[in-house]
């Protein structure tokens, strides 16, 4: 068997798996989206129909707010952790990256424990302020949930990027008289820009497609994945659900592709 044949054969299992369980289904999905009573117009519905537009707006706002907050938090903590060493450092890093594998459902549960009806924060505010604060099931709770699964991922990426920074650039700036804040503003943040874009895009994409968290928190806040779910399972509005899914997929893919043109490999969106 020649080398070329062997290499060709190496692709066969891949071709089978991807075609059968990805390409064909996606094609089917796109076609189904256009098969409803509105036909292809269903695809525009995501932008035209005020209900769906509101949901889209909610979802995008939430994802954007999550991304920005996560980047700020991760940069402050990531810079700190990568640059300073102290007893307990490894523990702190472990604590921050531990939730990496939690599915959205578990995150939702975490938020309930924190801010739900029997939540920790509720107990504390009751003890100190007299009223029990319960916000797990509202927009704030959802936002916290989204923060919860975004921070570990982004912190890891930022820390990896900080590690790769060239220390001589900072030393040169210091030699020219720049104080610590100046160095951060003029040298470090610009150097981290590619990492911000890459990890920000992933955080955004993940937040857009997040389902488990919203499902567990069962909020009234409409986010696109929940809408798709209810349309499919409760209203049996298959075509619409398909159309919305494709729309969501396109937007997510576009954001990621845009970010990838700014730099290299990245860890992927999940749950």
């Amino acid at each position: 068997m020649s080398k070329r044949t062997f290499v060709g054969l190496c692709f066969v299992p891949l071709a089978v798996l991807v075609t059968a369980f990805f390409l064909l289904p996606m094609a089917r999905l796109i076609l189904t989206g256009a098969s409803g009573q509105d036909g292809l117009r269903a695809y525009a519905a995501i932008l035209l129909d005020p209900r769906y537009r509101a949901t889209l707006f909610n979802t995008i706002s939430l994802a954007a707010a999550t991304t920005i907050a996560t980047l700020v938090i991760a940069t402050i903590s990531g810079l700190f952790l990568q640059r300073r060493r102290f007893p307990g450092h490894a523990l702190l890093v472990a604590m921050l990256t531990f939730p990496l594998a939690f599915p959205g459902v578990v995150v939702g549960f975490m938020i309930i424990l924190l801010a739900g009806r029997q939540g920790l924060l509720g107990d504390l505010t009751l003890r100190f302020f007299g009223t029990k604060e319960v916000f797990a099931y509202s927009l704030q709770g959802l936002f916290l949930g989204y923060l919860y699964f975004s921070i570990p991922r982004v912190i890891l990426t930022i820390m990896a990027a900080v590690e790769k920074l060239d220390p001589s650039l900072e030393e040169a700036a210091r030699a020219l008289g720049a104080g610590p804040w100046r160095v951060v503003r003029d040298i470090i943040l610009p150097a981290l820009a590619p990492a911000f874009i890459a990890s920000g895009a992933i955080a955004f994409a993940t937040a857009m497609g997040a389902f488990g968290t919203a499902f567990t928190l069962a909020t009234d806040v409409a986010v696109l994945p929940m809408l798709i779910y209810t349309e499919f399972t409760l209203s049996a509005n298959i075509a619409l659900a398909a159309a919305l899914s494709v729309g969501l997929g396109l937007i997510t893919w576009a954001i990621l592709a845009l970010a990838r043109s700014y730099g290299g490999t990245s860890i992927a969106a999940a749950g």
Partner: protein, 266 residues
């Protein structure tokens, strides 16, 4: 002085963020072994909730492991040769294929599940078996395996090893088996850990694809959060943590081995 203040402020901030992430997890682990969550730890510790979880949801735990290992097997068989071929070809078609492999990550799990349901919903035997879930998991975790293996291929100068073995007379399959795969072991291991961890925790896809007879652990968790008392839900979550933490630790340690020392001026 200013530096110490800055250090303290950053430390407190980071500790608060860490607390935000860890405290609920700790709470849930504690709640899983507490007799009565409302009365707190004073009510006593017990394993009864864990036992109850074991009685209510044993199939979910087994099935999650089964699917995770099966997913691993599939991604190994599909991913390693594919990574090899992609690395060797390294042309525009390879880029396109990589792009396609990675697409499932850009698509929300929900959409992917929907697509699978629409296509295979009619094949009721397949639809109702755990293999259906396996299919979704395999497509979703494949990019991680491929990327991980390709990364290590890039680092070990695969071409020279391959050519060296070829010059000694080894045929392609032999080279693959004796030289390529063993030298790619670190990447394969890293990818495997990633695949198993992702599969165990996968929800978005699985929730849509499951049937009452093919529940996985995360699906069971969602059920329990909705319908069970807090202690049972917490105990169930505790079981999940116990499964997941060793894998996470293994991944961290593994990543640590690959780090290098920092440079110092002479």
């Amino acid at each position: 002085m200013r530096d110490r203040l800055l250090f303290a402020a950053q430390l407190v901030f980071t500790a608060l963020v860490a607390a935000f992430l860890i405290v609920p997890a700790m709470l849930s682990m504690l709640a899983g072994v507490t007799l009565n969550y409302f009365r707190g730890i004073h009510s006593g510790l017990t394993l009864q909730w864990v036992v109850q979880v074991w009685q209510l949801y044993p199939d979910t735990i087994f099935r999650s492991f089964l699917i995770a290992l099966a997913t691993l097997a599939v991604t190994l068989v599909v991913g390693i040769p594919a990574a090899y071929a992609l690395h060797l070809r390294n042309d525009r078609i390879s880029r396109a294929i990589e792009e396609i492999i990675t697409l499932p990550l850009a698509i929300p799990g929900l959409a992917l599940a929907l697509a699978l349901l629409l296509t295979y919903g009619g094949f009721s035997d397949f639809r109702r078996s755990w293999l259906f879930i396996l299919a979704g998991h395999a497509v979703f975790t494949l990019p991680f395996m491929v990327r991980s293996v390709m990364a290590v291929f890039g680092a070990i100068d695969l071409k020279s090893l391959d050519e060296g073995a070829a010059s000694l007379g080894a045929l392609p399959w032999r080279r693959f088996r004796d030289v390529i795969v063993p030298n790619a072991a670190p990447g394969i291991l890293a990818g495997s850990l990633m695949v198993v961890t992702l599969s165990l925790g996968e929800f978005n896809l699985t929730w849509m694809l499951h049937t009452p007879l093919t529940k996985t652990l995360p699906v069971g968790l969602a059920d329990s959060y909705a319908s069970m008392r807090l202690e049972v839900a917490s105990a169930y979550t505790l079981v999940f943590f116990v499964m997941i933490i060793p894998l996470l630790v293994a991944m961290q340690i593994f990543a640590g081995f690959r780090g290098g020392p920092t440079a110092r001026p002479r």
